[in-house]
Amino acid sequence: MNETALWLTAVFMGIYQGLNPPIGWLRAAGRGLETRSERAILQSTGSLAFGHFLSMVVLLVPVAILVAGLPGLVIPMGVLMRAAWLISFGLIGFGIYKLIRPHHPRFIVRIKPDQVLRWSFWMGLTHCGSAVMMVPMLINLTMVSAMAGFSDSATQRMISDATLALTMSAAMTVPLFLTGSVVALAVTRRFGIGAITRYWINLDLGWAAMFILMGIMGVAMG
């Protein structure tokens, strides 16, 4: 699988989540209808996307640093490959579980309705699993870059791998923000919140399938 396809996948996942009402735009549209303020809408979609971004960064950056190798802790390539492979199987299993039981973890409903960023962070980290889906990809990409730049210093590798993790997170969450904002504005200005009962389909099922697909890709790459 080439790298471009991988980046496109991340962008596609961002757009998909931007379209999904709870993840991308619904709270923002609700705020917009209450306040009639576009600023409030963009603040909400911004919080949703930024929470999601943080949920990816907290997992992907440490993984990238571990893969690059810390002083005194260099994980052998074979172990890394095996880990990526196991995580991929885990993704397939989690996707099947989400098909059967598509609910959010219970603790998330206890987050207060105005804590949008916190809500989005925990959703991203658990239910959405955007970060964990990208882990096998990240490991594989960093190994490719390690082979290309084998003469780099440990610090250089760490910086380039962490940058890769950040870029990967942004590649998903910037499209999420843009899509979510467009939908939230359209719903507020034109369609009304009733649109969700007409046009909204169960995107959670597709997302569960995405876990399985990413898992299969990870297994295939390993």
């Binding site: 609700g30 409903v109 206890r110 987050i111 309705p113 009962t197």
Partner: protein, 470 residues
């Protein structure tokens, strides 16, 4: 429980109150029937409410329960607009199961209304022992689905009489219907319980108090009533935090603070409460509570006076007073938050208040049927025992349905001649005012009392909303 994968949200998920009002009208209603002398099993009646049907306004089916002595009372849906909200975590559940508690037995029935809503069947029974063991509560009452699943309030705590520990709310999983346990993390000074509801976006719950089981199970206890021992407090809670924030004591003369009805529009930070009786003057009262500056407040905004009556017409309990108290036993608020309906079960009156200004309810209409002394006939010419009691307003606000039984032992005290179950309907006028439909009257037979009504696709006392209508 079977929950097929849903590709679209349930068609009865309404994001806002206005969308709920604009949705298709109800074609079926359910009524809880209770065996008054507890010799027969209770039942759930199915009522045809489709105006195009030849059987409109009749009972078309009756699901008879397998046990005796449950005493059906209040009940609710496993999913409604509040829990089908996309941010809830179970947005693709179905409005399918009715959660039907026995207030006397503490048994809970899960009733499946699919595939045929006209022929509901029992999907699961939670036995009283399990309810008591897993929650520490007994006598389940109000059922609301919400952010964390199905919330059920209870009137009793531990012990045979249910008065050894506080009553409260517990949570039922909205898919498996497994009991998850007590809802409260910190209950403050709350001990007795009755009704509860909430404002979900503003994240608070309101609850009220009737009295612990010894004060109601064998009938009203006059000395306790005159001594101010029934509930007279409102409690406010942090909904997601599950913590008690504040209580408001209405004064011990305001006996039995029952139904709480928050405004449906989530941007409005107020609601109403009905108080059954003032033990100093027999008045019933309506209270408005509101949130301002982070704290809650409440004040009495309407009173309904007792009506003088010939003692010969009165039950022993009321003879010394020579008057009938209104006994405000239920209130219900239309989805547009404009009309509050108030059941005066004692005097046999149903009042309609215009509450456009929630601090100054204006009497907009009244119908009279039944009553302890008045004994007004239904416009069909038939006798109507009891009085307007359990109310339900259609989502569009055009119809108000009601039944006539309060609670088995209380029925026999206030209406010793018996209260065979009946259901009636009123038509409302958009500008205010309403009237009884002479052709709509359902009898459930002498042995059954009739209590709460639920309407297909939701009604004014089930739906709460995540989004503002404007």
């Amino acid at each position: 429980m079977s929950n097929a994968l849903q590709m679209k949200p349930d068609p009865t998920f309404y994001p806002t109150a206005r969308l709920a009002m604009e949705a298709a009208r109800e074609t079926i209603g359910y009524v809880a029937l209770l065996s008054k002398d507890k010799t027969k099993p209770d039942a759930l009646a199915v009522i045809d409410l489709d105006p195009a049907s030849a059987r409109f306004g009749t009972m078309i089916n009756k699901l008879v329960l397998p046990y005796v002595g449950d005493e059906l009372h209040h009940y609710g849906w496993s999913a409604c607009s509040s829990s089908l909200c996309p941010t809830s975590g179970h947005a693709f559940s179905e409005r399918r199961y009715l959660v039907l508690p026995g207030i006397r037995s503490s048994r809970i029935y899960i009733i499946d209304t699919k595939p045929d809503p006209r022929a509901p069947h029992i999907a699961k029974i939670i036995e009283p022992d399990e309810v008591k063991r897993k929650t520490g509560y007994s006598r389940p009452h109000t059922v609301h689905c919400g952010p964390e699943g199905v919330y059920i309030s209870t009137l009793g705590g531990k012990g045979i009489d249910g008065d050894e520990s506080p009553a409260g709310v517990f949570i039922l999983d909205c898919d498996s219907f497994d009991i998850r346990g007590q809802w409260e993390i910190d209950r403050g000074d709350q001990f007795a319980h009755y009704d509860f509801w909430w404002n979900m976006p503003h994240d608070y719950m309101v609850s009220s108090e009737w009295g612990l089981p010894p004060l109601f199970e064998n009938g009203v206890v006059p000395e306790a009533l005159m001594g101010g021992k029934y509930g007279h407090k409102l409690h406010f809670w942090d909904l997601r935090g599950r913590r008690h924030i504040q209580s408001i004591d209405l004064g011990s003369n305001h006996q039995m603070a029952l139904e709480v009805r928050p405004a449906h529009e989530p941007t409005k930070d107020y609601g109403f409460l009905g108080v059954v009786i003032d033990n100093t003057n027999l008045e019933g009262s309506i209270w408005t509570w509101w949130r301002e500056g982070g704290t809650f407040h409440a004040k009495k905004t309407a009173i309904i006076p007792p009506e003088a009556a010939d003692p010969a017409l009165l039950p022993d309990l009321l003879k010394p007073f020579g008057a009938v108290p209104p006994l405000i036993t239920d209130i219900d608020l239309s989805l547009d938050d404009r009309f509050l309906y108030v059941a005066c079960w004692g005097t046999g009156e149903l009042r309609q208040y215009d509450v456009s200004d929630p601090f100054a309810p204006k009497l907009a209409g009244s119908v009279r049927v039944g009553g302890i002394a008045a004994r007004a006939k239904h416009p069909s010419g038939a006798e109507f025992q009891g009085g307007p009691q359990m109310l339900e307003i259609s989502r569009d606000g055009k119809r108000v349905y009601f039944t006539n039984s309060l609670y088995s032992t209380w029925d026999s005290q206030f209406y010793p001649a018996d209260v065979p179950g009946q259901m009636a309907m009123c038509h409302t006028d958009a500008a205010g005012g309403f009237r009884l439909d002479p052709d709509f009257r359902i009898e459930f037979g002498a042995s059954y009392g009739a209590h709460q009504i639920r309407l297909e696709g939701g009604d004014c006392s089930t739906e709460s909303f995540c989004f503002a209508s404007t």
